[in-house]
């Protein structure tokens, strides 16, 4: 069934309904609800300890909420077992970390290639996509370098390429510029915005920085595990 | 490897021939100290049915035709050989159980006429616990094969014998052999000459007709058997002359109750040695003997042995004068089956020994025979 609205607006990709999470009696998330449409960019902001990362982990199926539920493309994550969640991560999600987390034994190209291999993409197509992605993030000249030979900005570009390689529907990014200087940070943000637009990939971005939040369509502010504010930008 | 072995066997089987002193007079002993058959030998029985270890070479040779009660026909051969070994100076390690002065060899063969299946086996043993020949009477043994004459012995030196033999685990027989005609001594004055050399001679005793009865086990089934056999007992210290390459021998048992024995000594130039002999055994056992000039031995066709490659005559035509009516007879000795060669697996000397029909000129079967042909695979010269 297609609602009339869908003719105008993209469908809802991700839905959080009353999500709550606590660790050892300490409440970290409290009744968080929101929805994210396909291709939409959402920033999660708030001070340290406000529950941003926990919420992101719950959205990525790495952590499970105590209460409430999360649906990704109509599938309830809590109904999935460990393997199911792993499969969701493998096929539908891309993740970008503050510390890049590139695999040190692999070259830049091999890091990008890995998700494609995991999803069984044929070799020729894989090569083509890796080449294209590296070109797109402007590190094709470092394709054969090991992570230890790359600069921070280069590492994050490779990480973005890896996160997008398998054409996920949703990109989760945790402080992607937190470990970069401001010039590199701005470049990365620019890149994220462009790629999100080009590929129609939705993005959930956890960040402290207003510059980062500025590339998003919407910003949710968390404090003590609750959504305390929402801002919508028309021209991100 | 094999030729080498054959040479060795030739050596042990033949040394005696070479050791004969070449003297003009009839020697009493060979150079090795073995006896030479002497004319006028007076045989005493049962002792002379037994072994004569003074002589280098001795055999008890039984050949015969068998009929199963249902008419199935067989031929068989059972031969026990005794061979003295060369006497050497130094004392050996031999003991009573493991002697080294005599070797006992034995050959057994069985022909199943219907199928043409020909089984044969050779054995070699040293004298001792497993092979022996008595000097008191006929009692020879080689493993589980034996030939014994029972008691009491009649005044003519005749008593039924028991023969146990077989071929490996495939055939076994136990026959009673009963002489139906008296013992015959071939040769002149008790000596059967084989060649110009006076030492090449033997004492040659024969039961020309034995009634056979007993059991034959073949393919795991025991069969009651009746039949007729011929038995030679021959002892000597040398069988061949210098120029001889082999011999042919035949024993014919005619339906009229008489027998014929003939041997032809072949010389290296292909001619027949004048010492070849043919003998008729009459109904009462009387012997009529003629020399080489008085009988003819012709051969017909060829059979080539697939095992040894030797080429044997396929049939023999024997012509002689019948002493009964003075008429010339021409007997055709026709093998029942071509493949009756003993391949010489241990003796090193292959030879053909087989059951035959005897046909007259008109092609009528007038008797049965055994034919022996030696020296076709290689010359026996100097071997026997």
């Amino acid at each position: 069934m297609t609602s009339p609205a869908s003719l105008i607006e993209p469908p809802v990709l991700l839905r959080a309904i009353g999500v709550g999470r606590s660790y050892a009696g300490r409440v970290v998330l409290r009744d968080v609800s929101f929805a994210l449409r396909a291709g939409e960019r959402l920033a999660l902001t708030g001070p340290s300890g406000s529950g941003k990362t926990t919420l992101l982990n719950c959205l990525g199926g790495v952590d499970r909420p105590d209460t409430g539920r999360i649906e990704l493309g109509g599938v309830a994550l809590d109904a999935l077992d460990g393997d199911g969640l792993a499969a969701v991560r493998r096929r539908r999600l891309g993740t970008i970390f503050q510390f890049f987390h590139l695999l040190p034994t692999l070259t830049a190209a091999e890091n990008v290639e890995l998700p494609l291999q995991l999803n069984g993409v044929p070799t020729a197509e894989r090569m083509e996509r890796v080449r294209h992605l590296l070109e797109r993030v402007q590190v094709s000249h470092r394709a054969d370098a090991r992570p230890s030979q790359l600069s921070g900005g280069e590492m994050q570009r490779v990480a973005i390429a890896r996160a997008l390689a398998h054409r996920p529907e949703l990109l989760l990014a945790d402080e992607p510029t937190g470990n970069l200087d401001s010039r590199n940070g701005a470049n990365i943000l620019q890149l994220l915005r462009e790629l999100s637009d080009e590929t129609g990939t939705a993005l959930v971005l956890v960040t402290h920085s207003p510059e980062a939040a500025a590339i998003c369509h919407r910003e949710l502010e968390l404090r003590d595990g609750q959504i305390v504010g929402e801002r919508i930008r028309n021209t991100p | 490897m094999k030729p080498r072995f054959q040479i060795w066997m030739a050596v042990i089987v033949t040394w005696a021939a070479m050791s004969v002193r070449a003297t003009a007079a009839e020697p009493v002993q060979t150079a090795e100290g073995f006896s030479v058959p002497q004319p006028g030998m007076r045989f005493r029985f049962p002792r002379d049915h037994g072994s004569h270890p003074d002589f280098a070479l001795e055999w008890w040779y039984i050949t015969g035709h068998l009929l199963e009660t249902n008419g199935v026909r067989y031929g068989f051969q059972a031969t026990f050989f005794r061979r003295a070994t060369p006497r050497t100076d130094k004392p050996g390690s031999a003991t009573e159980a493991f002697g080294d002065q005599q070797l006992h060899l034995a050959h057994m063969a069985l022909l199943e006429v219907q199928t043409g299946r020909f089984l044969h086996q050779e054995r070699i043993q040293r004298e001792g616990w497993n092979a022996s020949s008595s000097v008191e009477g006929l009692d020879v043994q080689n493993g589980n094969w034996s030939l014994r004459m029972g008691q009491p012995v009649t005044t003519k030196g005749v008593a039924p014998m028991e023969l146990r033999g077989g071929i490996r685990g495939e055939a076994a027989f136990r026959f009673r052999l009963e002489p139906v005609k008296p013992l015959v001594v071939f040769g002149t004055n008790g000596v059967s000459r084989k060649a110009a050399e006076s030492t090449a001679a033997s004492h040659y005793l024969t039961f020309s007709r034995l009634r056979v009865s007993g059991d034959l086990v073949l393919d795991g089934r025991s069969r009651a058997i009746q039949g007729e056999a011929w038995m030679d007992h021959e002892f000597s210290s040398s069988q061949l002359g210098r120029d001889q390459v082999g011999w042919d021998w035949a024993s014919l048992q005619l339906r009229d109750g008489r027998e014929v024995m003939a041997y032809r000594m072949r010389r290296s130039d292909g001619t027949t040695d004048p010492f070849s002999t043919l003998a008729w055994v009459g109904l009462e056992g009387g012997v009529t003997q003629v020399g080489a000039d008085r009988f003819g031995w012709e051969t017909e066709g060829q059979w080539r042995s697939p095992t040894t490659g030797a080429v044997y005559p396929a049939a023999v035509l024997l012509t002689t004068e019948d002493p009964a009516d003075g008429r010339r007879r021409r007997y055709r000795i026709q093998p029942l089956v071509s493949a009756q060669e003993l391949t010489g697996s241990l003796g090193g000397i292959p030879y053909w020994e087989g059951a035959c029909h005897v046909l007259d000129e008109s092609g009528q079967e007038v008797g049965q025979a055994f034919l022996e042909m030696t020296g076709y695979a290689a010359p026996l010269q100097g071997r026997l």
Binding site: L80, V88, L93 | I7, V11, T14, G92, S93, I124, A172
Partner: protein, 913 residues
């Protein structure tokens, strides 16, 4: 939304993980990979070498007749002593309906004459002399064509055309055949010693040096099993003559002639033989009024071949278990290494997890890596083992020679089954060791939940930290001590429960060792901190005060190695002490004589009565003791029947009694006719003690004997029955002596008398008391040579494990090391701190290990050894050896730790944040 929410992983992910990760790590740290492979291969190699050597030693015990008969259908041999050859015609007559060849055989041993007067016993190899009828074997030519050629090469004369000198050839051939000195040698020996027909070949047979002459080379057929180098073949009567067994046979074999229904025919013959065996044609048993004993036992060549295997089963089992020592220690090591790798590659695993690889795939990948490691180590181990086997086969051979039978095994050949077993063992070891690390890897959370400081300290398997169940294991070990050995077959015991105790205690000691380390460091820390301001010691102690799981694991590995090695040392030491005591008690007389050909436990060489009578009546001889012996086949197994003057035995061999005779009747020839003494090994094997009765089959019937006492004997493990010599002579009807013991008149010149006997009987070995004592001890010690080698390897592996641990620990603490360096510690100080850390760890391992070794030693002496061999030993704790072992391990550990510390101090600093 048509994408599947869940789906299967693309195929080939496992290989991808191995290729892209495992392999690259291996390539990036080649040293570690090589070290692991080497350690594993060492463990596997030792195991494989011992197995191959065992196999070679067993294979060298064969039914030599098989080489000539191409395997008989069956055979008979006397339950004790020899078979008289008079049974041959009887058998022939009984089997006259059967187309079967009856093949009498005599077998004895001989040796090369001694080269020097002072050579060591057992230094010359023993020949097996096979006497067989060389005329009759020709009848087996259809089974083995070369049997036609035994007499084909008389005196090596060239064979050509039939020539005029046939007569000369014939005579030469028969001369050679009849010559009792004629002997046929194997092609291998002929090549090795460059023997040609006609050549002299003297050997020691009984008390004589017999001037044999090579009559020819044993003829062989292509494709038949190779003739062992040490086989000599003679015509049967010649072998009888030289062995002194005229008129007797070792056994009679039966070969059916070809034909249908072989099995049925043999069955019939067998029944016939068994029936005949119970007949008593000579009436000997009836005459002597005893129950008749079977005259012979019917068996098969397979039984005979097996008896070598059966005899040495216990010995080989123990050796195999010992050979796994290095592998057991290796488990700890591989565990360490793989676990270290999990910690180091935690980040990588986390990322892979966040990329969507499920835990079970991670686990499989790691197990696969472990298996691959095992496979590699196994493969290299096979190579090492095969090479090692060539050395081990001599060591094993020496023991087998001294204890069981003459073996000429000098080469171990490859065996596919054993190779496969070793490989499986290697992979299994790796998988066991890799199981927990693989699980830990799988439990690694995805990268999202990984913080920056992800180098979490390794806590190790939880069981290593729980001392409660370790104490339970200790108690369980004590309970198992009460369980008797498993007896799968009579005369064969496996001390399973005792091994269980050893395993329990070793495991428990491993856990308790970790606790000891913690306690020890805490106790040490306080005074050390107060006494010293040395930052190095402080640093080192602060680390081990809270030992990581890795430390505990290293301690456990060390404990395991030290405990096992120490236990063995205690066993060997106790053995040594016991043997020395026994040797001193047993060898009281002045001179000991035996055939110089007696070089192994299975010697058949005897001294003829003429010779020993002559020696015994020498004016210098005060008393002479004649020992006669015969192999004895009881229904339950093979043993020895020995006879001597029992009064002399008590006086001059001073037996240590396990169960002393209750009165003196057994020593009185007037009353000991139905009595016997048995050795402890016999008592243990056949479960018979004082007061029990044994039935001994003899040629004159079954003898019913009462066991009057049980004495200690460390000479053989098959056990022996000792009776007074007049009984033996009455039963066996001969006086051939195995050995002769002389007490000389006071004041005699012992060396002079010895020299006189030696020159009069060059084939006799004449030993003085002191020489025999030292030789006995030397031979005994030699049998333990292989255990020393195995222990050394075990300890090496354990020390390597410690070094490995320290490297891992330092790597995990590299952040701290950077800090320490920033704080101004020199590299030397860092290395020293690591060395101290290693020493303290090693010390804990050694102390706990030594304590455990006392327990293990006790179990080995009083359970394993006692139950397997039936030898009671005095316990000698061998403190000196334990001390040396401890110091060696500590020293090696200090060096290894120092090296690791040097390495750690050069680690690159971590990237700054």
């Amino acid at each position: 939304m048509n994408r599947p929410s869940s789906g299967s992983l693309a195929p080939g992910v496992l290989p991808l993980m191995w290729r892209r990760f495992s392999l690259r790590h291996a390539r990036q740290s080649p040293l570690q990979s090589v070290l692991l492979v080497v350690i594993l291969s060492l463990g596997v190699g030792v195991f494989f070498a011992v197995r191959l050597a065992n196999r070679a030693a067993v294979a060298s015990f064969q039914n030599f007749t098989d080489l000539i008969t191409a395997e008989s259908d069956g055979l008979i041999s006397a339950p004790s002593g020899m078979l008289p050859e008079t049974v041959l015609p009887e058998l022939r007559e009984a089997l006259r309906e059967e187309a079967v060849q009856i093949i009498p055989v005599i077998e004895t041993t001989a040796t090369a004459p001694r080269v020097s007067e002072n050579e060591a016993i057992g230094s010359r190899s023993t020949f097996q002399v096979l006497g067989i009828d060389l005329i009759a074997v020709q009848n087996l030519a259809d089974r083995r064509p070369s049997n036609r050629q035994w007499l084909a090469t008389p005196g090596g004369s060239p064979q050509g055309e039939l020539s005029g000198d046939l007569q000369v050839q014939a005579r030469r051939l028969w001369e050679s055949f009849r010559d009792p000195h004629s002997v046929f040698v194997s092609p291998r020996l002929a090549i090795r010693q460059r023997l040609v027909p006609g050549q002299e070949f003297p050997v020691v047979l009984n008390e004589r040096i017999v001037p044999l002459r090579i009559a020819g080379i044993i003829p062989t057929d292509p494709g038949q099993p190779e003739v062992p180098a040490e086989l000599l073949v003679m015509d049967l009567p010649a072998a009888q003559r030289w062995s002194g067994w005229t008129g007797r046979l070792s056994r009679i074999e039966f070969v059916l002639e070809d034909g249908p229904d072989r099995a049925g025919r043999w069955q019939r013959i067998r029944q016939n033989l068994e029936r005949l065996a119970l007949q008593d044609p000579s009436g000997a048993a009836t005459r002597t009024g005893t129950a008749s004993a079977p005259r012979w036992l019917v068996g098969s060549p397979a039984d005979r071949r097996q008896s070598g295997e059966v005899m040495t089963r216990a010995f080989r089992l123990n050796l195999t278990i010992l050979s796994m020592l290095a592998l057991v220690v290796g488990v700890y090591l591989v565990f360490q290494a793989l676990d270290g790798a999990v910690v180091r590659r935690r980040e990588e695993i986390a990322i892979l997890r966040s990329l969507g690889i499920p835990p079970r795939v991670i686990q499989r990948a790691w197990l696969g890596e472990a298996a691959l490691l095992g496979l590699l180590g196994g493969a290299v181990g096979l190579l090492l083992g095969w090479v090692g086997a060539q050395g081990a086969v001599r060591l094993v051979g020496k023991t087998v020679n001294a204890l069981y039978y003459a073996t000429s095994a000098d080469q171990a050949s490859l065996h596919l089954g054993e190779a496969f077993l070793a490989l499986v063992l290697a992979v299994l070891t790796s998988l066991i060791a890799g199981w927990l690390p693989a699980r830990a890897a799988a439990e690694t959370p995805p990268a999202q939940s990984l913080g920056r400081g992800h180098a979490t300290t390794f806590s190790g398997p939880r069981w290593l930290q729980r001392t409660g169940w370790a104490w339970i294991l200790v108690v369980l070990g004590f309970v198992l001590l009460a369980v008797p050995p498993w007896r799968p077959a009579t005369g064969f015991r496996v001390p399973i429960a005792a091994y269980g105790t050893a395993i329990c205690w070793t495991l428990a000691a491993g856990v308790l060792g970790g606790a000891f380390l913690q306690g020890f460091a805490r106790v040490l820390a306080r005074p050390a901190l107060r006494l010293s301001h040395q930052p190095v010691i402080r640093l080192a102690l602060s680390v081990v005060r809270e030992p990581t799981g890795r430390h505990r694991l290293a301690v456990a590995g060390l404990v395991c190695a030290v405990a096992m090695t120490g236990g063995m040392a205690i066993l060997v030491g106790s053995f040594d002490t016991t043997m020395r005591g026994w040797i001193e008690r047993t060898f009281q007389a002045d001179l000991f004589l035996s055939s110089d050909g007696a070089q192994s436990a299975s010697t058949e060489n005897r001294i003829s009565p003429e010779t020993w009578h002559g020696i015994a009546s020498h004016p210098a001889v005060a008393r002479a003791q004649v020992i006669q012996a015969s192999r004895l086949q009881l229904p339950e197994g093979e043993t020895m029947l020995v006879s001597s003057d029992l009064a002399f035995f008590r006086e001059y061999a001073r037996p240590a009694w396990r169960q002393a005779p209750r009165d003196d009747r057994v020593f009185d020839p007037g009353s000991n006719g139905a009595m016997a003494l048995v050795s402890e090994a016999f008592s243990e094997r056949f479960q018979k003690g004082r007061g029990d009765r044994i039935r001994v089959p003899t040629p004159v019937g079954m003898q019913d004997l009462e066991i009057a006492g049980v004495f200690s004997d460390y000479g053989n493990e098959r056990g022996s029955i000792l009776v007074d010599r007049p009984q033996f002579v009455r039963w066996f009807g001969h006086e051939l002596a195995s050995s002769l013991i002389l007490v000389l008149r006071p004041g005699s010149d012992i060396e002079g008398v010895r020299a006189e006997f030696r020159s009069r009987h060059p084939g006799l070995a004449v030993f003085t008391q002191s020489y025999l004592r030292s030789e006995a001890l030397r031979i005994f010690r030699q049998t333990f040579a292989i255990t020393y080698a195995l222990e050394l390897i075990g300890v090496t592996v354990a020390v390597a494990g410690l070094a490995f641990t320290l490297v891992s620990v330092l790597w995990e603490r590299r952040g701290d090391l950077t800090t320490l360096r920033a704080l101004g510690l020199t590299r030397f100080e860092l290395a020293a701190a690591a060395a101290i850390e290693g020493l303290v760890t090693a010390f804990s391992g050694v102390v706990t290990g030594v304590v455990a070794s006392l327990g293990l030693g006790w179990v080995l002496i009083h359970r394993v050894n006692q139950q397997t061999f039936g030898w009671t030993l005095e316990t000698d704790w061998s403190w000196d050896q334990l001390m040396v072992l401890g110091l060696m391990v500590m020293g090696a550990a200090a060096v290894a730790a120092w090296g690791a510390g040097r390495w750690g101090s050069r680690l690159p600093a971590e990237r700054e944040e």
